[in-house]
């Protein structure tokens, strides 16, 4: 095996065998799966449990008109609010809804008595049901024909058609945004997390004083590159494990909790929580999302994600290695760490602006400059990027990481041999141009 290969192997194996790696590999997917499963589980669980609300209606109008919702059952009581409140104290029901005598054109004084703070879900359910009854009353009073009203109701959904390359493709802004965000954030976190690992590894070798033994056997550049590649492989392995486990745990949990076959009823309920769409519209929405996912160019996104992911890692990884070589301890490294992380943070900060105008000049320049391009370009790609821009950005990224690796190599070869030196930027620059 080549010497660089040996170094990669060591960096990889020592990290993969660590307890923390194994724990993270197991814990990570459990957390991810929980993030996905728990909200769904909570929703379906809530739906099964209905709450009884006692209604005291002084208008004698709502009975029969006020519709129960998935989680609320209205129980009409005698016209005695004092009795109802007393029964509430005996915990006979969740709450008491008091509808005093009122003018339906100006409904006021409606109260919900409960012995605890009612949930958003309950409040919204009650308000919606009451609103519907009063709305119906007003429509009738105004003498509007229901059929005409239905015809007047405008339900508009604009389909976006992407006509680049002469082909017509349906696209969805929502799905593109989601894909862009996930890809950008993944790159950001990966670089930060594993970049710091590289830095720590270099500092460890320096403070262990083993580095001089190693570089009497291999070139400093080989050691640096081996470390960067080895740690990158650890990161990819972790991602792969997470992806596989998350899928397994997610599908397993859903099967166990019995929420895999969400029937239309439940979907409708979930839909109602956010809007008053009917079952048919909800289904249509779900279909649209699936259709939209189908329309984005998945192979292109996967390819560019992998490309920017690796390019960004190599670009920043070598900078982190250089920082590590110039420091004796983690705290020494902090002063240099900030300037390296700032471009990353800026890229995340501008994502919102890029999203507003994915083809604007800010988005363009940020997705061309190598320090920002990985995060920003991944946000743009789902919206479609002209080929020449993509090629230019990728080309510059390759040039960028060759440059930073070269630069880092020059700082590294001097830095790892320096102990106890107070390093500042001037000294770093001197190392950069020093002969070997």
């Amino acid at each position: 095996m080549s010497k660089t290969g040996l170094i990669i192997q060591r960096e990889y194996l020592t990290r993969v065998r660590k307890k923390s790696f194994i724990i993270m590999s197991i814990l990570g997917p459990v957390l991810f799966a929980m993030l996905m499963v728990v909200p769904i589980w909570l929703m379906t669980r809530d739906g099964g449990e209905s709450r009884t609300i006692a209604v005291v209606d002084e208008n004698a109008y709502f009975a029969g008109k006020l519709k129960n919702t998935g989680s609320i059952v209205f129980d009409f009581r005698e016209n005695d609010i004092a009795l109802a409140r007393q029964q509430l104290e005996e915990r006979m029901f969740y709450g008491v809804l008091h509808l005093p005598l009122m003018d339906f054109n100006k409904p006021e004084g409606i109260r919900l008595y409960a012995d605890r703070n009612p949930s958003m879900d309950v409040m919204m359910g009650i308000e919606r049901s009451l609103g519907k009854v009063i709305e119906d009353f007003r429509i009738e009073e105004a003498g509007i024909d229901r059929e005409i009203l239905k015809k007047l109701n405008a339900n508009i959904s604009v389909q976006t058609i992407n006509i680049s390359k002469g082909e017509e493709k349906e696209s969805s802004t929502g799905v593109a945004t989601a894909v862009g965000y996930v890809a950008s954030l993944l790159i950001y976190f990966f670089i930060l997390f594993y970049g710091v690992q590289i830095m720590r590894g270099v500092i460890e070798e320096k403070s262990n004083r083993i580095v001089e033994v190693i570089i009497s056997s291999v070139r400093p550049f080989q050691l640096m590159l081996g470390k960067i590649i080895g740690i990158g492989a650890v990161g990819l392995t972790q991602f792969l494990i997470w992806a596989v486990f998350t899928v397994i745990i997610y599908s397993g949990a859903i099967a166990i909790l019995g929420i895999n076959n969400l029937d239309t009823d439940q979907i409708q309920q979930m839909g109602q929580m956010t809007s008053t769409t009917s079952a048919g519209e909800t289904e249509q929405m779900v279909q649209e999302v699936f259709k939209a996912i189908g329309t984005i160019n998945i192979p292109l996104i996967l390819f560019s994600f992998l490309f920017y992911f690796l390019g960004a890692y190599l670009l920043y990884g070598s900078l982190f290695a250089a920082i590590g070589s110039a420091a004796d301890t983690d705290s020494d490294a902090q002063q240099f760490q900030l300037p390296v992380t700032i471009p990353l943070i800026i890229s995340i900060v501008v994502l919102g602006a890029v999203l507003k105008d994915p083809d604007g000049s800010l988005a363009f320049w940020m997705s061309i400059i190598p320090l920002f391009s990985p995060v920003v370009m991944m946000m743009r790609i789902p919206f479609g990027v002209p080929v020449w821009q993509l090629m230019l950005s990728m080309g510059l990224l390759v040039g960028g990481f060759i440059f930073t690796t070269w630069m880092a190599g020059r700082i590294y070869r001097i830095g790892v041999l320096m102990h106890g030196a107070k390093v500042n930027y001037k000294i770093l620059a001197k190392w950069l141009f020093m002969k070997n």
Binding site: T14, I210, E212, S217, K430, K435
Partner: protein, 306 residues
């Protein structure tokens, strides 16, 4: 035959000249002492030989060939600032470092087992370095240096931090390695070590070589031609071929101790004859300068010249 020759090696760090035209010849199977005060340039020279850094001018020949990457497997290096991966197991660590020096997996494994047996370390393979005592770590460290059976072993202050038992063990191994054909460069400023082990030395001060050669020749060249004589009786008369530097008469049981200085032309036998004819000799000894004296004299002399 020389294992290593340097010719006019120079190295600058920015404006600072760390090595100034240093030429050395290190004979095969020698134990070569590289001496000099701190900051003289010893570590720079050693790093150039290890190809960690490169000289600005001059060249290094290893067994007559220009030094290159392929010679890495022929050199073993124990730096002054040394250490191991603390979290790694002893066996894995040695496997890694051995293979980095260019050994195959199988060879490395065999060599490790050989040294484990030799140093009474069987059963250490699975131990983590951080769980070992300092003395045990030092043994592991020494094995990393000699594992690949190098022809040239470079030890930078090898005994600093070694306990006396390990120091003795290492000393014996150094002689054994030389017997088997290796040459050793010692970089140190501990003169006892030099007296005891080295047969050749080079003295570096302020980036320049100021002295080198076989130890006995250097001592010869630096002797002051003074003798210490202990005798009983009264010494009468003087001679013009020596001068008395120091005299302590009858200090102990009537024995007088005298230090005399002669000129280089005077043979010690002539001096001895002079005394035998006049007094009863208890002891007669030429005063050979210690390496420490030569070191101090040369380094201070250099400083005074400026």
């Amino acid at each position: 035959m020389n294992i290593l020759v340097t010719k006019d090696l120079s190295k600058n760090y920015g404006d600072f000249l760390a090595l100034d035209s240093v030429s050395l010849s290190i004979p095969e199977q020698s134990i070569f002492g590289l001496l000099g005060p701190n900051g003289a340039g010893k570590t720079t020279l050693i790093r150039i030989i290890n190809q960690i850094i490169f000289a600005d001018r001059g060249e290094v020949l290893f067994k007559g060939e220009k030094l290159s990457q392929k010679h890495i497997s022929g050199i073993g290096y124990l730096p002054e600032e040394r250490g191991l991966y603390k979290k790694m197991k002893v066996g894995e660590q040695l496997m890694y470092l051995g293979q980095l020096k260019g050994l195959s997996r199988k060879e490395t494994n065999e060599r490790i087992r050989y040294w484990f047996k030799r140093f009474d370390m069987t059963g250490w393979w699975e131990k983590k370095v951080e769980d070992l005592s300092k003395g045990m770590q030092q043994k592991v460290q020494f094995i990393t240096t000699v594992l690949h059976d190098p022809k040239l072993i470079i030890l930078d202050e090898p005994f600093s931090g070694f306990d006396p038992i390990n120091a003795n063990l290492i000393r014996d191994e150094i002689f054994e390695l030389r017997r088997n054909g290796a040459s050793v460069i010692f970089s140190t400023h501990r003169m006892e070590t030099v007296e005891e082990l080295c047969d050749h030395i080079a003295l570096i001060n302020k980036s320049k070589k100021i002295l080198d050669g076989p130890k006995h020749e250097i001592k010869d060249a630096h002797k002051s031609h003074s003798f210490i004589i202990e005798y009983k009786g009264e010494l009468e008369g003087t001679s013009d071929f020596f001068e008395v530097l120091h005299e302590a008469p009858g200090a102990f049981q009537g024995i007088t101790k005298m230090e005399v200085k002669t000129s280089p032309q005077v043979r010690s036998t002539d001096l001895l004859k002079f005394f035998i004819d006049r007094v009863e000799i208890i002891s007669f000894q030429e005063r050979i300068p210690s390496m420490s004296e030569i070191f101090i004299r040369k380094v201070q002399g250099e400083t005074n010249h400026e």
